[in-house]
Amino acid sequence: MSTTNNEKGIVPAHHFDSVAQEEDAGIQGIWLFLATEVLMFGGLFVAYAIFRGMYPEMFHHASKYLDTKLGALNTLVLIASSYSMASAVRSTQKGDTQKSFNLILITIACALIFMTVKYFEYTHKFHEGLFPGANFSHPGADKHLGLFFGLYFVMTGLHAIHITVGVGLMVWLLIRIKRGDFSPHYFIPVDAVGLYWHIVDIIWIFLFPLLYLIG
């Protein structure tokens, strides 16, 4: 039961008084959900802070094993994808659903580029023996570096999972756009996915300097 777009026009779900109230509620719900995402990643940032406080030189040294150029590339790709996503929301708001369809496609493409770069980064690390924790086996390097790589893989890995879910959500949006679900009077799901995507982007913007730029 949610807003339906039918012959009578836009009708709110039975327990809401108006579409405006329903949309307000939906947006508040999304923001609360995003707060939980921030708190979940927050735990990882706290772990990062604690371990970096304990082993500052080790972090400095370990960060050198990360490819700053690839990380920067991924950062730019994600920022671009946030721009295309925001534009997609704007287009829907203005009624240009074809444009928003294309912009979401671009966003998905950016996400896929991001994931491809990550794939290459990860496989390169495995090749070098830069495994997390006790499995760390890079020749000549101190075993404690495994702690840094534990953080690296968990933080970027969890982030990558969120990117993947984001792509899934965007494909869902594409399907709904094709079905004609959205209009200037009703585009909350596009708005919501947009917000989700921005949070995923912001998390990366914190991850990048903390992991890549401290070497």
């Binding site: 039961m1 949610s2 779900a13 039975h14 327990h15 809401f16 109230q21 307000d24 509620a25 508040q28 719900g29 609360l32 959900f33 707060a35 939980t36 995402e37 708190l39 979940m40 990643f41 927050g42 735990g43 990882l44 772990a47 604690i50 371990f51 304990m54 082993y55 080790m58 997390p132 924790g133 006790a134 499995n135 760390f136 075993k143 404690h144 495994g146 702690l147 534990g150 953080l151 893989f153 968990v154 969890l158």
Partner: protein
């Protein structure tokens, strides 16, 4: 809508229940689930007490005992007490009490139930995969190295966490957006305030549990090293992460129960609550302060003295809003017109038992005393007094109070009172000996023990049979009232909150017309 239908008869068939979007039916789905999990967890509890009749092995090896101990805790915490009141009574009554037709996100609500069921199934699956013996707290490094189904049970808990988060999210938006005209926050029933404070914790704390459990799984599967001393990690870090959620979690458990006590005491004293604002805001205060006290679980972990001191002072400060409630409830009864029906009996039981639970919490907050009492049966008794004596007594009070509304039938008052008396007596028989043997040195999570503690254990086990019987009587009485019994009027108790203006049981839409609120609840005379 045809005349004479209510939410139970509105549609029929299994599918109409499994795919329902009606918050009332979802509340009942949760009731069925939580009641079943309670029987499972309670069964394990009785098994534990049975084995502990003797200082040496009776019928369980230490390995089996440790698994039963872990399951009792895990099932009760994650599958009974955390969902408990919010998911059952909160789902059913929050919308009605604020004059709404449903919660903000009905589909999310149904999803929350399925997540609980999925997570619970996975957690219980761990029994078949060798079981888990780490205790429900999963401390590292043991939980990392243990060759058992830790990953499975932790995955189950992770999924159930999302059930809790989504319920909290739903309730916050419901309270913010769906209050009926005239229902300002300061005119909301106190049960709703307690659900609001609880929802804040669910949203802020549970994600930290999620990441903690994920890290434990990552540690087991990928050896990431955060908690592994051999690569420079810190096993105690797990304890900090774990308790950052699990301490606020106990306020998720108790706050809704306190909300029910406010409702029941007012109705059965026919009197306005004393200090409405203080009780409403004290719930939020407990919720907020509760985030900053987790370190009191770590006084002897090697934590710094200064950190311990800060946690100790904050911990006792949480006691202040709690005390305010107890005093205000007592003052509410002054010059009231009191009837000791079953819900009120359970509420009085709450007052005595939760008071003891809270006072013994002060013992544990005094650092030097905690050194002696930590990880002994004193702590076990403390948390049972608060979780059972507090949360369960409130849940029972709420169930008996509201079953006439939910089912349209009155329950059997005689058996209701019998259950309350049995539970009160049995509870004290079970747990007072535990306080004493705990302060005398009996450690917790012990399968075998020094014979000098035997008489305490025997007394405690006999008590467990009495409380088991009491809960059985209560559950049968409530279950029977779901399907039969005297027809309940709309307002059998003389309550003043909105749910008593609807029919018993309510219609599908809750109200014929959206109510308009003109004053505070609990106005008598």
């Amino acid at each position: 809508m045809s005349a004479g239908t209510n939410y139970l008869t509105h549609s029929k068939g299994l599918k109409s229940w499994l795919f329902t979007l009606d918050h009332k039916r979802i509340g009942l789905l949760y009731l069925g689930a939580v009641a079943t999990f309670f029987l499972v967890g309670g069964f394990f509890g009785l098994l534990i007490r049975l084995e502990l009749l003797s200082p040496t092995k009776i019928f369980m090896s230490s390995d089996v005992y440790n698994r039963v101990m872990t399951l009792h805790g895990s099932v009760m915490v994650f599958m009974v007490v955390i969902p408990g009141i919010p998911a059952v009574l909160g789902n059913f009554f929050l919308p009605i009490m604020i004059g709404a037709k449903d919660v903000a996100f009905p589909r999310l609500n149904l999803l929350s139930w399925y997540l609980l069921m999925l997570g619970a199934s996975i957690a219980v699956l761990s029994i078949l995969l060798g079981g888990v013996d780490t205790g429900w707290t999963f401390y590292t490094p043991y939980s990392m190295k243990s060759a058992d189904a830790v990953t499975t049970i932790v995955t189950g808990a992770f999924i159930m966490g999302f059930s809790s988060i989504l319920t909290g999210l739903n309730f916050i938006v419901t309270i913010h957006k769906l209050r009926a005209p005239g229902m300002t926050m300061m005119r909301m029933p106190l049960f709703c305030w307690s659900l609001y404070a609880t929802a804040i914790i669910q949203i802020v704390a549970t994600p930290v549990l999620a990441i903690t459990l994920l890290l434990l799984i990552a540690e087991r599967v990928f050896g990431i090293g955060f908690f592994d001393a051999s690569v420079g990690g810190d096993p105690v870090l797990f304890q900090h992460f774990f308790w950052f959620y699990s301490h606020p979690a106990v306020y998720i458990m108790i706050l809704p129960s306190m909300g029910i006590i406010s409702e029941v005491i007012c109705t059965f004293s026919r009197k306005t609550i004393f200090g409405y604002k203080a009780i409403a805001l004290s719930s939020v205060a407990i919720s907020l302060i509760g985030f900053f006290v987790w370190g009191h679980h770590l006084f002897v972990s090697g934590q710094s003295e200064l950190a311990g001191a800060i946690f100790a002072i904050l911990t006792v400060l949480v006691g202040v809003p709690t005390a305010i409630k107890l005093f205000n409830w007592t003052a509410t009864m002054y010059q009231g017109s009191i009837k000791l029906d079953t819900p009120m009996l359970y509420a009085m039981s709450f007052m005595a038992l939760f008071l003891i639970g809270g006072l013994t919490g002060i013992f544990l907050a005094a650092m030097a005393v905690d050194v002696q009492l930590h990880d002994t049966y004193f702590v076990v008794a403390h948390f049972h007094y608060t979780m059972v004596g507090g949360v369960f007594m409130g849940m029972m009070a709420g169930l008996f109070y509201w079953i006439p509304k939910m089912s349209g039938h009155m329950y059997n008052e005689f058996w209701g009172r019998v259950s309350a008396v049995l539970v009160f007596i049995g509870f004290n028989m079970t747990f007072i000996p535990q306080f004493i043997m705990g302060s005398r040195g009996m450690p917790r999570r012990y399968h075998l023990y020094d014979p000098k503690f035997a008489s305490f254990h025997i007394a405690s086990t006999i008590g467990s049979w009495v409380i088991g019987l009491g809960f059985l009587v209560a559950m049968i009485t409530i279950f029977k009232a779901m399907r039969s019994g005297k027809a309940a009027p709309a307002n059998p108790w003389g309550g003043t909150t909105l749910e008593w203006t609807t029919s018993s049981p309510p219609i599908h839409e809750n109200f014929e017309e959206t109510p308009v609120i003109t004053g505070r609840p609990y106005e008598y005379n």
